[in-house]
Symmetry: C2
DNA sequence: TGGCAGGTAGACTGATCGGTCTACACGTTT
DNA sequence: AAACGTGTAGACCGATCAGTCTACCTGCCA
């Protein structure tokens, strides 16, 4: 499959899946909106599930790059590096393709049955947690294990609050809580 | 439709929808597992969507009763009332029917299109937020608006962490953070 | 005991699903 | 220009979807 068609197909698929879920969307719908023929899809991918898996990988890699962009400043302290994750997620959530966490959404539809999709989704969530965990290990005054779990919870919670209550300030609010926690933890 | 069949149908439907999502589940599957005939379903409900709506209402009412059970103690201070929401959710999450938030899950599949299902799901999330908000108004030393949003985020985040990282301690962890916040906020 | 009514089983319908097959269009090579 | 090969369009396939229809069963009242 020529690269531009493949790109268009994956971009369209990811956009639709993100907004409207996976199982309820037909491949015909994706094909129609992408302007791509069915054989073109099935030459490049084994199945609809394989297409979904590839959109998960692409989104995961894109999110990872986005996070690293925000947290890899040279002259920033470890606490600020952590706080900038919240800025990164706020920016991420303002993109039109955002509709809650793509991987969590995949898990609600595929998590009950073992399979490559649920494994991929879980792997990317663990990867995000490990990313937070590594950042926390740079701060000597906190328990990295506990704090990274708390940070993970706050970011996931901000995501859900953003979506289900239309709370546009959720990430800023979560960031403030994180600031408080990073300060207070160091005081005992 | 006789009451016991209706109950069995709704219980089975809710259990399957909770574990495996909505759109990917056929009414035939629900019928088979409930041991109920198709006509019995369609005498009692207009459509699959109407059945889903009723499961949302039932679960919402059940969760509300569960929360009130935990938070309506007579001789409990307002802070402890708030903290007991985390105990309630931990208990709730240990039930076999738990698989993340039923309403958030419904929103990931139906949230993009206006409809009765997404409206119901959003309404129950707002109701939960309002419940937290009311509890917060009983504590004079905090900003109820801000705190209830933060509590909402933490509970939703604990739910996602529980599901996607298999973090069985997420609600206890979130409760500890809430304790800290309720104390610290009162000190300035 | 006869007849009526409510409820149920499961065959059936048209639409739509994921996936395949075929016929052809077009750029490249000779 | 002729022959070839890659890639595409869309008809097509069996399976399955949500929802309906019909034939029957069963309990109830006369």
């Amino acid at each position: 499959m020529p690269a531009p068609k493949r790109e268009r197909l994956l971009d369209t698929a990811e956009a639709i899946f993100a907004k409207e879920g996976f199982k309820g969307i037909s491949v015909d719908r994706v094909l129609r909106e992408a302007g791509v023929a069915k054989m073109t899809l099935y030459k490049g991918f084994d199945s609809k599930d394989a297409l979904i898996q590839e959109t998960l990988r692409r989104r995961g890699d894109r999110l990872e790059a986005h996070l690293k962009l925000y947290t890899s400043g040279a002259n920033v302290g470890p606490e600020d590096r952590i706080l900038s994750v919240f800025d990164a997620m706020q920016d991420w959530s303002e993109r039109p393709e955002f509709n809650g966490c793509y991987f969590v959404n995949a898990l609600t539809e595929y998590g009950a049955v073992e399979g490559e999709i649920s494994e991929l989704a879980r792997a990317y969530k663990r990867q995000f947690f490990n990313f937070l965990n590594t950042l926390c290990k740079g701060v000597s005054t906190i328990d990295p294990e506990d704090t990274s779990h708390v940070l993970f919870m706050m970011i996931e919670g901000a995501t859900v609050s953003y979506m289900s209550l239309d709370d546009r300030d959720s990430f800023a609010r979560a960031r403030k809580v994180a600031e408080k926690l990073l300060k207070h933890d160091s005081s005992h």
